[in-house]
């Protein structure tokens, strides 16, 4: 990993408040994601992890506060400009969200078709390459309904990296997968993060994933409705004095600092 002082901020969130209508989910969120980070958004069920991600990727406006990509204030942009920025995002949805009426090749090819001037043959080649990156070479003509859940997630990943994105969003990538498939997805995320150099934002509550792949994280605390901890999750486990963070990171087995070291994975 690069030394900390060489790291450039990629996404800066300041004073962010989010919610639905009058209901406030989280307030005063402040954190920075650095270029090349694998950044985990953690928290219990219903704490607003997915909502925060929807704000970061441009699907839902925050109540107040800023999301900056570099020096650009994301939510102050016009809709057209924001959409242009969103083309540099790759997103893997929780369900995979493959378009069910299209084959895997068409799914992966659509972003290329829409946003590049490549001709058919080039697109076919890129699609083949991306599908083989996620271990799905030869599955080009399958429909999403014909493959397993783990394969759908990987195909979704191939689509997410179709345009070589700068930021990759993962919504619970290993939810609902068996441990082996989950590990495979984790390995792919690290591999893609390191080879493409993309910043990765990942919403998850799978502890093994958090500890193996994330080097930076934020913990959304449901009791205080704001950030409960921010930083490297391994360090957070050792140094945090927030009992909610420790309880989360140890599956509720430890409640304070003194026990934390016994259960370090």
């Amino acid at each position: 990993m690069r030394p900390a002082d060489l790291k450039q901020p990629h996404i800066t969130v300041s004073n962010l408040t989010m919610g639905y209508g009058d209901f406030i989910l989280m307030r005063d969120l402040d954190f920075t994601v650095f270029r090349g980070d694998v950044f985990a958004i953690m928290g219990g069920s219903g704490c607003g992890k997915s909502t925060l991600m929807r704000i970061l990727m441009g699907l839902k406006a925050p109540h107040t506060g800023q999301v900056q990509y570099g020096d650009i204030d994301f939510w102050m942009l016009g809709e057209a400009e924001r959409e242009r920025m969103m083309r540099h995002f790759g997103i893997l949805y929780q369900s995979g969200a493959l378009w069910s009426s299209m084959t895997l090749a068409e799914n992966v090819g659509l972003p290329l078709d829409l946003h590049t001037d490549l001709d058919r043959d080039e697109i076919v080649q890129i699609v083949r390459f991306k599908l083989s990156l996620v271990g799905l070479g030869g599955f080009e003509d399958f429909y999403p309904s014909e493959i397993s859940g783990g394969m759908r997630k990987r195909a979704g990943l191939a689509r997410a990296i179709a345009l070589d994105p700068e930021v990759l969003f993962f919504d619970e990538p290993s939810a609902g997968l068996d441990p082996v498939s989950a590990k495979k997805i984790d390995d792919l995320i690290i591999e893609i993060n390191q080879s493409l150099g993309a910043t990765v934002i990942i919403v998850t509550h799978e502890l093994p994933s958090i500890f193996t792949i994330a080097n930076n994280a934020v913990f959304l605390d449901t009791t205080t409705r704001t950030i409960g901890g921010n930083g490297d999750p391994k360090q957070m486990l050792e140094t945090s004095d927030n009992p909610d963070v420790i309880r989360f990171l140890t599956r509720g087995e430890a409640t304070g600092n003194s026990n934390a070291k016994d259960v370090t994975p």
Partner: protein, 374 residues
């Protein structure tokens, strides 16, 4: 042995509840009120249990003990659980590990009639706003289509044309033939009283062309295609497929609604004309088969009565009905919630709303054509 409980007093004044027999759910066991009755009235300070003579037990025993413990708490009696079987004691402590949610017992206040009326009003306002929103988005999308900037797959249009075009022919044929038949039967019975049964050809021809052709295809397509649109788009919403399009910078209205609407609006007039034709044939079967009108006579009479205006009105209506069905189906699908139940609701509302709008629009057309004198 039958489940039983007996009480006895110890020399130190404590009350012992001794359980015996087999305690199994579904078999007669002493009720908690019986046991509570043993407690009240006596000046018990401490309660103990004795489970040594139990032959077997399940939750029924724990439920009873739990009720007794609650009762003792309210009386201020100390309870000693040591005499219970180990498993029962652990179940009891597990059930008390997390305190009951305090405010869950309080019945939710029923909002007043006025409040509910207000909520309904706000909801209706929201629905109107949503509809206007969607119509606006659709209008913008149609503008982009005209300028050639709308992005969608032409194969989607073709697939939908196939789905709501010739694949709909069997059901449209059946319903139209039956409607023609019914119109003819109803008409001819009345007209025969004046010896004017030949005019049944006019009745069926004009009736099908102006009204029934368009309305029946509209209703069929609402139930068939409108529902399919809502279910299809609703499922895509649940699977986050629509989000995936949006983040790709593609307008879901362009990509999903436009092809469906174009296909249906193109197919509806054709289906309507087809339905009129089949309806006339249906009427002819009755006229020729049952009431001694010759086929040539029937067709000549029909040709004489049908004008381009009649058919034009029917075709125009069918275009509007196609728009209504496509819009209701797609809007309900796009505005669908994110659960499986929401997809079902969206589908139902798509059909119901489309049929209501079709009938309302047909009423407006009736007034309008009357005023215009066509």
């Amino acid at each position: 042995m039958k489940a039983n409980v007996e009480s006895r007093r110890l020399p130190d004044g404590a009350l012992v509840l001794a359980f015996s027999g087999r305690w199994h759910t579904g078999q007669p066991t002493p009720s908690s009120s019986d046991v509570q009755a043993m407690l009240t009235g006596s000046d018990v300070q401490r309660l103990q249990f004795d489970g040594r003579r139990l032959d077997g037990w399940d939750s029924s025993l724990v439920v009873l003990v739990s009720a007794v413990v609650d009762h003792c708490a309210s009386l201020g009696v100390d309870v000693d659980l040591d005499g219970l079987p180990d498993g029962a004691r652990r179940l009891l402590s597990l059930s008390r590990a997390v305190p009951r949610k305090a405010d869950a017992d309080v019945a939710q206040d029923q909002p007043s009639l006025l409040a509910r009326l207000g909520e309904r009003g706000l909801l209706a306002g929201q629905t109107v706003r949503d509809t206007l929103d969607f119509t606006g988005e659709l209008a913008l999308s149609v503008m982009r289509l005209i300028r050639g900037q709308a992005r969608f797959r032409s194969v989607d249009v073709l697939e939908t044309i196939q789905e709501c075009g010739w694949q709909a022919l069997p059901i449209v044929s059946l319903i139209s033939a039956l409607v023609g038949l019914i119109l003819a039967f109803m008409g001819v019975v009345q007209l025969r009283q004046f010896g004017a049964q030949i005019y049944v050809a006019d009745l069926v021809g004009i009736g099908m062309a102006r009204e029934m052709g368009a309305v029946m295809t509209g209703v069929i397509m609402a139930g068939r295609t409108g529902a399919a649109f809502a279910a299809n788009l609703g499922t895509m919403q649940v699977n986050e497929e629509i989000d995936a399009l949006q983040t790709l910078g593609v307008s879901p209205v362009d990509y999903l609604v436009l092809p469906r609407m174009t296909a249906l609006v193109l197919m509806m007039p054709l289906l309507c004309v087809y339905s009129v034709f089949v309806g006339i044939l249906g009427g002819m079967v009755v006229g020729v088969g049952a009431f001694d009108i010759s086929a040539i006579q029937y067709l000549t009479q029909t040709r004489g009565s049908l004008t381009v205006t009649h058919i034009g009105i029917g075709v125009f209506k069918s275009v509007i009905f196609g728009l209504i069905v496509a819009m209701c189906g797609c809007m309900q699908g796009m505005r669908c919630g994110r659960s499986a139940a929401a997809v079902g609701n969206a589908t139902t509302s798509a059909v119901v709303i489309a049929i209501v709008y079709i009938v309302v629009a047909d009423g407006l057309f009736a007034v309008l054509t009357n005023v215009l004198g066509i």
